[in-house]
Symmetry: C3
Subunit: 346 residues, 3 copies
Amino acid sequence: MTSDISVSVAQIVAELGGELMGKADMAVARIAPLDAPDEPPFIAFLSNPKYRSQLASTRARCVIVHPSVREEAAACPSAILTEDPYLYFAYLTQWWAARFRPSLGQGIHPSAVIDPTAEIEPGVVVGPLAVVESGARIGSGAIIGAHTVVGPRAVVGAQTRLAPHVTVGADCHIGQRCIIHSGVVIGADGFGFAPHKGQWIKIEQLGAVRIGNDVEIGANTCIDRGALDDTLIGHGVKLDNLIQVGHNVQIGDHTAMAGCVGIAGSTRIGSGCTIGGAAMILGHLTLADGVHISAATVVSSSIHKPGQYTGFFPLDDNAAWEKNAATLRHLHALRDRIRALEKQNK
Amino acid sequence: MTSDISVSVAQIVAELGGELMGKADMAVARIAPLDAPDEPPFIAFLSNPKYRSQLASTRARCVIVHPSVREEAAACPSAILTEDPYLYFAYLTQWWAARFRPSLGQGIHPSAVIDPTAEIEPGVVVGPLAVVESGARIGSGAIIGAHTVVGPRAVVGAQTRLAPHVTVGADCHIGQRCIIHSGVVIGADGFGFAPHKGQWIKIEQLGAVRIGNDVEIGANTCIDRGALDDTLIGHGVKLDNLIQVGHNVQIGDHTAMAGCVGIAGSTRIGSGCTIGGAAMILGHLTLADGVHISAATVVSSSIHKPGQYTGFFPLDDNAAWEKNAATLRHLHALRDRIRALEKQNK
Amino acid sequence: MTSDISVSVAQIVAELGGELMGKADMAVARIAPLDAPDEPPFIAFLSNPKYRSQLASTRARCVIVHPSVREEAAACPSAILTEDPYLYFAYLTQWWAARFRPSLGQGIHPSAVIDPTAEIEPGVVVGPLAVVESGARIGSGAIIGAHTVVGPRAVVGAQTRLAPHVTVGADCHIGQRCIIHSGVVIGADGFGFAPHKGQWIKIEQLGAVRIGNDVEIGANTCIDRGALDDTLIGHGVKLDNLIQVGHNVQIGDHTAMAGCVGIAGSTRIGSGCTIGGAAMILGHLTLADGVHISAATVVSSSIHKPGQYTGFFPLDDNAAWEKNAATLRHLHALRDRIRALEKQNK
């Protein structure tokens, strides 16, 4: 970000709406947390009215708040009242980035290696040393980062942005307006082998990966190609970093997953689900729409009812854990002893 | 895959064996699951006789089945009878890929950077912008993907295929007929430090990595170089994506690991083992041949007996989990209370 | 390593100190474990006096030991006595690598793509096909590996070494003398979205990543940029492979984390902590200085007291686990039954 930004609060409201309270000509140079230091001048947001007391001490020149905290917000030089301050903040970051973030270059860098049979639509940016292989198609306005490889016959939709060091395998499709971060591997072989006399015989993975529109995929996440059919990622899906998506997995629209999640092959996850960090979902399962899995939870059977599901060992100090864990290995026997006592006491 | 494939069932049996039943001139254009739509025409397989009822409704032109379901398979236009349909399917995918998958290019791309002291045997394919450093040796018929880096003095065996964006560190050896997927890092430094006055003093990692023949390594998996000796991966080992193999680990022949597994330093895993997804095996342990670890299981001590081992918290709805997890922290005390009751009841 | 190394024990002591015992002209060609084969001649260390009996059988030409095992060490041709043999070994590996490891090249490879506005200080090595973007600054003596991308306005400190295939995002800062391994992604977008009508609205990540001096980051580890403020990694922090560090995380000086750890957004970890492999720390938590988390442990609330904390399900053979896990889902009910029994017995 350049350092000589100055935006008036009135300008923000003109662009993004909301009710302006206080000094309309108040200028801000950055977006920052409520407790940030005074300089450079900043705009902040308060999404949870529970923390309204923070408005008394913030040095923000403008706060984005819910109308219910109008009174407390009056302590600030200016405020923007809006029904959903967190959503307003999201749109503000987008407006800010579009306006002030330096551009990612333009045109095709001369060091990029583009096969003559690739189709590159107008307005595409291709970074240094990127590779676009035979028959690949890049939609208008897409950005292909430095060192990114778009494989043979792969398709990258319009306005999609691939960061540096992305690998898109042969025949894989990525929709429009997606963001794919560095180190992502789309379309490596799924993990499929037939056991034979103590060895593993490879099952060639003949499917590909199909990704919808408005999908974001975090750094070093892997999405394997299908064995026969394609692996499918729905519209609006958001995947964090270091996630493993096995072959023939299907993920429904607008499902989100935090970092380090693993989804084994052929599992189908519904739409509108959330999967907490480091959760592990075994293969060939079905999760209904609206299922929410807590962090670090293992899903070992299908879930047909929406709701929140959890399963991880609670943390304790090490000595207490050792005693409880040792006892846990005899839990079933303890149950039998309780039963025996109950019989005696009848 | 090109779209104008046509293979007769007789041709498949001529190549791969099996007993042909029904129309020998039946043509297929793809391999697909039993429940795939009618067009394009396809061949499918049924590996588990339990699902034999699916043969009544499949639109497959040919089914690969065990002789025991011969009768049900007669409902299909043609069938191939074989003792191990899944294995037959594996070989069919290999035959199919070899025949119909577009080639990965040929020769050395002019944009590749190859040190003059590197030895490249005949028939090697080097993709765009790949780097082969000083003293490296690439065996005949090997494929080095776009953007892959083969470090100084590293060895890549004959017929081995490195996908784009692979990193092979200095002095590491990869055997023959291996497949290494994108993002794999072979030979980064192992994690070794001596504690000293609250800081960590680096132990330079002077070993390398040695990988046998017929090994497959999934996307973004890491295999660290040894501290003094080499990290060793046996023949026929299959590693899925996003696996961490610490320094000086030894993995026996034909062991397979699903995604997201972690193996800490100096652990020795036997041959013919399977490790489920997201399992974590601590350091300096020994696992015997034929040990099978379930997904998401933590192995904190050596296992000397073959068998299936498991340890993860069972999933529950969140409210039930909260109650059980809270109680679990008092499990040892509960045991003592049961004991006390038992004494009273004597 | 070249194969004609020969170092005398006297030379090592002259460089690194310690009390020399036995033959000063004893020559070694490698550093190896105590139980290594005789040739080539080697030097070994014994850090734990508990294993002193190994000194009787080792074929090492020289052993690095604590003075308390002086007597047993006299069985070896030579010995170096030092208060901390493991630390001595660490320094020896450093001296060895500096002396015998082939250099990583010099100067700027002609195939590298360096923006004319980037500042490259003297003595920098840039590998083949590396990319240094506009406004980036590379400190003196730094090494930028093949295929590594240093983004716009990013800063790499003096003597820092980036392995091949590293991605450093725009505006991120890396301190001096750091080692960043292959596949590391610094500065991908943090995972931030505002929910809105069943969809996820992106919060542009306007912060960056700031990394202190003497930090080591393992292969394929990801450190996300902050939403508004920067993600902060202190001095001397050591991160192993495949670790996820979410946006706005803060990690205190000299904290170390083993592989596959996940740290969710905005969590603050103190200094001098250790986090075991595959541990998962949820977001918005605080861990005090000197907290030690065992492998595979989930941290779901803040920890304010130093100590060792653990929480993972103990491994068992699969049949026993199944019974205990099933019973665990009724643990709270079991507790109630114990209470009822206790009331009856009063």
